[in-house]
Symmetry: C2
Subunit: 256 residues, 2 copies
């Protein structure tokens, strides 16, 4: 007897990953039915098992888990081997993760922060699910990229996210100029993220590389009670300045 496959359910996480001392209330960032759904899932494919357990503990406080936390099945996504192209073993690792769904159980995919499969390694699992005929169900939750875009006041009818910038200073400046040129030519808002401890250094690079009239929006600590968004020209940012915390995630958006 064949079993109908379970679903791959994309469960958004909060945006307060790695922040000490301040959290977003769960009921401000996840719909009630999403919390109920998350509490029912007992098999997970996770970017990070530890943060998934921390998430489930928070869910459990308002929406009791169907399976106790210590019995949850949490498997981490394979980490891409650096400098080695994907091979057959790799493919098998992704398919192994899908086993619970192939056996008829719903499988949750969860990231360290925000929407899974956006700006994280989860998209390959979603692709494998489609290839295997497993239905994919995205749930509603916070996306720092979209919230930053909406709050920026920059063009929301054409925008792009191109992943992390190069770390090396000259390569980073050159990439920023490229993005600024495209933004000017196409009136396309360019979204940029960085690991929080590099926020200040990215900020400095933006202010010294971009043209004075380019508009720069910074969103810091989105969804946190202390969160803020500020949009001004690069010239204005250079005049006023504004310190960026080094442990709070920020999203940068520019429109030239």
């Amino acid at each position: 007897m064949s079993t109908a496959p379970g679903r791959l359910i994309l469960v958004p996480n909060t945006l307060d990953f790695g922040i000490d001392g301040e959290q977003s209330p769960l009921d401000a960032v996840l719909p009630d039915a999403v919390l109920t759904q998350a509490a029912r899932i007992s098999h997970w494919a996770a970017e990070n098992a530890k943060t998934t357990r921390a998430f489930l503990k928070r869910v459990n406080a308002s929406h009791p888990l169907a399976l106790p936390l210590q019995e949850q099945h949490i498997v981490e996504l394979p980490r891409p081997p650096k400098g080695r192209p994907a091979d057959g073993d790799d493919e098998r690792a992704w398919m192994t993760l899908l086993q619970p769904a192939l056996q008829g159980r719903d499988l949750g995919l969860i990231s360290e922060a925000g929407m899974p499969a956006v700006a994280d390694p989860g998209a390959r699992l979603v692709a494998a699910a489609h290839a295997a005929g497993i239905p994919v169900l995205p749930l509603v939750g916070p996306s720092s990229l979209l919230m930053a875009l909406a709050a920026s006041g920059l063009n929301g009818q054409s925008f792009a996210f191109v992943g992390y910038l190069p770390v090396e200073a000259a390569a980073r400046s050159s990439r920023l100029r490229e993005l600024e040129t495209r933004s000017a030519r196409e009136q396309q808002t360019q979204l940029i993220i960085e690991t929080p401890y590099r926020n200040a250094s990215l900020m400095q690079a933006l202010l010294s590389t971009l043209k004075p009239q380019t508009r720069l929006s910074i969103s810091c600590g989105l969804s946190l009670p202390s969160g803020w968004t500020h949009t001004a020209t690069v010239a204005q940012w250079n005049q006023r300045g504004r310190a960026l915390p080094d442990k709070v995630p920020a999203v940068f958006a520019l429109l030239a």
Copy 2:
């Protein structure tokens, strides 16, 4: 005595705008604290007053409005005059909308569907708020673009949304080829939306214009109980086919 300004609060709407006979349950698409916040607001800048009233009526059913529906202050965003560049009058119209916030009251910005100021005319009001020193607060809610991207399994580490395609067939094909070329060169997922009654015609254009190996993901009725996402190569779509409803919003994502 000067008054501290109110905030411009970006209130996401549901994704079931214009769909007959099926709705997303409110508690599946909006966090409880967002519904509480929406129920407290009495001044709105809206893409459409009628759909805003319909939204508030739904909110009121679970989260009683602080001000009765018929007393809510709802002002529509100015419609951009076709073919005429923005002038001073225009600017004044946007500033007038911000009056409640300048007088110390929270002002809600709401779209017909999804996140305000993304793929809609609201960004200019957000920009005006920043210019006037009014704090901007984005709330969490559904974004069909982000949900479709996550559910596609296509590259979520580089993606772009470029607004509506040209309606005229030759111009549309030419634009699609341009997006496909960029997608191939940069491995950038391209997101496309269309008004629902043109879904079938866009689908036909995609299948006849794109290369057979380009991957195409279609998400239809996101957040609806009947919603689905399917990802396959253009060659596979051409073999299997799949009818698109003409009254349900769809998001198309391609990766060449």
